[in-house]
Symmetry: D2
Subunit: 429 residues, 4 copies
């Protein structure tokens, strides 16, 4: 099954009842994880390249444990765990569930084996199927919905984490071979759309799924602003490099300046000099940098410095949300099969808002007014990370289809850049 | 001259012209720095207890260098620097000025000596006096005003930094002996004042001095809220400790939980078990903790966890600013001579808003809409720190009189707690 | 082929000519590496548990590269390397050969895959077979001999490294299941054999293989001494623990005392409290500690402290060598198939001198008088490590048969203990 | 009193009885410490530049505490300690005495003040004077002798530690101004003296003082060797630098190669490029490197690499001891007043054996056969450091007169170089 087919499958919504739709999406989501792991050997799946990243096998098992711990053990009478010891191995950060294998050592788990984990998945998939034979309270359905979304997040991480592993290897393997041709040259010229100010409602409301951090829906006072039609490109970024951007202290936040000098950063992550310019490691292997494509693998510090250099700023999360109103929540996400950001199509209005790259905003990741985490262990999902991180919007080329949403608040630390992170310029109007 | 007298002097405002008033305040500020250093030996003044803190001598020299670098060398024709090499020694973080002695090594500077630095101060004081014999453009006057405020900030740091040094010593010396008697027992009971929501103007405007980060003045949408009449007390904090606050993961931000476990934090900084409860190192030496006094030396992580435990939250910087409207910008600051936070007086309304302890807010330290740093090196004063820090309001027992202001935005990292930092509870109304 | 059969094979010496014998030993050694890896999955073989240890796959490839780099590329005309990029991947520390993949990141190499490395081994094995069709100069034969011994060293490391990996895992897997029954209770009582002093020749001489660090043979002045009949046992070690050995500063070298307190060491590596005493992770899984078996996985610091506690000292390397004179160079090494140290047999004289555990000596690892490293890259084999390490003698339960030798000088840093390291007591006579 | 006069005083030996001689040496030693501190301000005396170094004030107090803890409190009836809390502050590493202020934080002790410590010294000096009014058992006299030698060691450290502090300062102050003129150009050409092999007695014996680590006297088998007439000079070292010595891996021990690359070492400590070559920070301030003077501030790793480059090796401690037999134990030590190593005088035989620079040997610092530490706390003086260090011989320009001795075994870690450490070449004969 190709990634494109998967994308179709994952967003297929012809099934009649909400409950059946949920069941279908559950199956598709579970299947997609297995598909994403398929190009990888068991060796590839077990190793952890850095503390921030997790092994593929761990993602496969952890998302499975999530259903076991929060759904099956609570709602499927007589459910027998596949292996009691897996809770210790595959709980990520749920303090209220109990002790865990420490995150930096996830890559040591050669046991349980890849086969064991695949059997674990089958065991849980079977139990979930059995579960749907029962009447299910809303709480169970909601937790299944959460489990689907949770697994989708890990699908994206699976890809960015395997990229971090492959990029660390001398042989620079490709996750998928590159079928596409030479880089496309053309890109839409930079242009800005202006938006009026006022009081606007932001945050999630209504029937569909959202994480707790997207609400409560509330009013925000937004000032007139303008937003770029597309993301910043590699060509623009290289101009920043060549203009001495990484050597000019006045462009940088103090912590960013310390960081790039301590680490020797002089380009986005995975950039390396190559014939005639730069190459960048990608899920397609080490490839020439496409000048027209959005820059990716930049930290908040770099995005912020670039915007200052360019005479602009990053948008706030609310400006971004407002500007996206009326746009379809759809773009070059995982199902498009590119596995890397693509040049903006020509045309009027805002492009690339969804998909391609996560766009750094200038908004600190903080609770919305009246925010309360969900009760119980799943309340640890979002709220406890609301410190020292910044909000990103819009989804990337590795985000599963159907997992992008106007109100979605992704968040990372300002120094992190192994995700598909880029930026879009904004300014006061 | 006692601290109380100094306080009077520092706020004395009978001088006729603005220029003369500025000159008077300059003299008083420069004199206060010397007074604050007086109880300290040259040995005390040279040592650095930790990277975040600086030696007294360094503060004395750096504030002097600030006038030399930004005022005298520009506006006093023929000004001869006291020693060209001091710029390297005493520039703090102005990248555009040039290279600096690294911050963690400020405590190695036994040379220039204390006498040299006092002579340096005299040299610059003399030159500043000479400067006032000339016509001075507004830019010069503004930079002098900035230099005064800059020196006031360092006066507070001088005190918190010497406390960090003395607390690190086995002999636990007092900066000033304790003339006061036993801890006062009584404190006003906790009560809340409710405030209506709406659109309010926040940020600095008007004639008086402010830092660039206090503006531009702009509108904020504030929701109905209520704010505690006083700061959280030591007694309340000890109840939090005794209720297992430091052992309950669900109360903490994830980064805070990691930190307190890695560092073994189980109480505010400088707390130690003592007969019948806790003692805490202070500028008055190691003293029994006063149950009625505001808790101090707590990090943002601790303040946030405490508020969650108590069923409240921290106020936003805008809520705080709004609530303080109409209150005199005055309280138990440095001039009150206590050198530590004091119990809230009984009475109606909000107390302790200014002075006693800096109050953590839940607001990330970010630029206000339309914020632009000042041009030139002084533009490095505030803007480049707008990342990963939180705003504190109100001033402390170590803040020089006249240096507190409703719109003042102090900022520290969420793990830092060597300042006089405390908290005040808030809630949605 | 069982380990016991392998042991027979590896020491089989019926083959006629030295050249044929060498060829046979080469084949057997190459086969043994593959056999040792066989119980492990590809996942097990790729992961690195700590900087000191290397993945199984890396050992398999590195020992192969050694033949390619130092034998085939020099002596087999027209030899084509399997993959030019492997030199970067699998060179360990030969500076003169060129840059290398950094040691702490050996565990990131999911590519080349396990299959690739097995193919690499087959390619080189084939080329070595071809090589033997040619006339070979002594230099080539000597390098093949060195390659065999090199691979034997890595066979031992393969086992100790996989143990470090399995010990780090929550599921505590066994490399081989335990076929043996309950711990044997009895052990020979501690007794000492006295040796006269005098001038003795030490170091290697004669026809057989030795590493360069075993020579030149030279005279040493040895004082009268006595040496224990067997190694220190777990029972004796537990008495040391229970007597407060790990809490008594006066028993320890200063650096050791710092280390055990910084790291919290209170027992040998892999010891954990278990029902009725201690268990220890082993190649047979987590097993009860056998009181009669030699203690193992102790550092030099611990061995030295134990000896002081016991009223003895460690022997020098020369005392050990002298005492071993006349004993067969044979014991419970890898071929015995125990995979862990076994209790000393009853009987007269010195037992356990070869096999079971490497015995720490009090001798710093330094060059013998007149020592000169071999010319060229293989000169980096030993000499450059002659600093801050201590000599160990005798071989362990994981040392390949035929790889123990009276003059063998193994060496590790005094803090290291993931090898099968133990001790034997000595004293002045 | 000049350093030269002090030197005379410190070696003055006309006093009649051994007890009176001891008393006189005690007074002179105590006076010398005060003299050495005199050029330093209290600020200079309180700061610690690095973990290995201690503040002057700490040296002054610690050497005083040594007499209080090991002599006065035991042998002077009714002795009252100056301040009970000083034991915590100024105990260095005597575990059996009790807990201590951690070594890396010695520089935080602004209290007790310099005045307090001087009063402490006077108090203890007075008590020692009183002590001599009593009959004293040999044990007391031996401990006083140990206390004198202990204080002499700290005198040398006081100087090397203040140099490390001054070298860390931008103003590069001189401990003493340089009265001497330009560097002397000439130096004796390198020549070697040959020594026969045989069995020789080494280690201390007889009536005079020695540390416990210098015994027991015992026989060593020494092979024929030759030893250079003088130390390696700066000119020779610069040739090593210019020949790429610091860039040639094959010259270095593996740990040394890692170290110099991690730290960026490309010259001896304190070397900096200066007009026409190199300058080096010294107790005389930053001065041009004298080509004829012995190189100093080199680590064992560097000394070992240089010797390899030059085609020689370092001598063993026993070779050095043997070669020095018959030479007066006297040279350009502290009393000579140079405060830095001086060019070798022309002439026959071995020069610079005592004084100028400590000479690295290739001998690991290990116990002599039969070594037993002294009983009690002073047994911690030497023995517990016998691991991972190397022996140095001969004393330096900062060693107090009378503190050099043929059998003296100084020891430092192979990476340390803030002492006056150099080298002399040796070879097999
Ligand atoms: Fe998760
Ligand atoms: Fe400043
Ligand atoms: Fe090797
Ligand atoms: Fe000492």
């Amino acid at each position: 099954m190709s990634l494109t087919q998967l994308a179709v499958a994952a967003t297929d919504q012809d099934t009649p009842s909400p409950r059946d739709r949920l069941r279908g999406r559950l199956e598709q989501t579970r299947a997609l994880s297995a598909d994403l792991a398929r190009p990888l050997s068991d060796e590839d799946q077990v190793v952890q390249a850095m503390d921030d990243a997790s092994p593929t096998k761990w993602h496969l098992a952890h998302t499975t444990w999530f259903f076991e711990a929060f759904v099956l053990s609570q709602f499927l009478p007589g459910y027998v765990r596949f292996d009691e010891r897996f809770e210790y191995c595959f709980n990520s950060y749920y303090e209220s569930v109990g002790p865990r294998h420490p995150r930096p050592f996830r890559g040591l788990l050669t046991r349980p084996s890849g086969d064991d984990v695949r059997a674990y998945r089958a065991h849980v998939d079977g139990a979930l199927e059995t579960l749907f034979a029962h009447d299910l309270p809303d709480e169970a359905l909601n937790l299944i919905e959460l489990g689907i979304n949770h697994e989708q997040q890990h699908q994206e991480l699976l890809l960015t984490d395997i990229l971090s592993l492959f990029a660390s290897q001398p042989l620079k393997p490709a996750y998928r071979e590159d079928a596409t041709g030479a880089p496309a040259g053309a890109v839409a010229p930079l242009a800005f759309t202006a938006f009026e100010g006022g009081i606007f409602e932001v945050g999630h409301a209504g029937a569909g799924f959202s994480y707790d951090n997207e609400g409560p829906r509330h009013e925000q006072l937004i000032r007139p602003f303008k937003l770029a039609n597309r993301c910043v490109t590699n060509a623009e970024w290289i101009a920043f490099i060549e203009d001495g951007g990484y050597e000019t202290a006045s462009l940088w936040l103090a912590d960013g300046w310390s960081l790039i000098n301590a680490e020797g950063w002089r380009a986005p992550l995975y950039f390396e000099p190559a014939e005639g310019g730069y190459g960048q490691m990608s899920l397609r292997g080490f490839r020439p940098v496409d000048p027209a494509a959005p820059v990716t693998h930049v930290s908040y510090f770099e995005a912020d410095a670039f915007a200052r250099w360019a005479g602009y700023r990053l948008p706030s999360e609310f400006e971004w949300e407002r500007a996206s109103t009326g746009l379809a929540e759809r773009g070059k996400t995982l199902g498009a099969g590119h596995l890397r950001p693509r040049p903006a199509p020509d045309g009027p209005g805002l492009t690339q808002m969804f998909g391609d790259v996560w766009e750094w905003t200038g908004s600190a990741y903080l609770p919305y007014p009246g925010y309360k985490p969900a009760p119980g262990a799943v309340g640890e999902y979002n709220g406890k990370f609301m410190c020292n991180q910044f909000v990103l919007k819009g989804g990337s080329c590795a985000t599963p289809d159907g997992h992008v949403r106007r109100t979605y608040r992704n968040f990372f630390y300002p120094h992190q850049r192994w995700q598909f992170t880029g930026l879009r310029l904004a300014a006061d109007a």
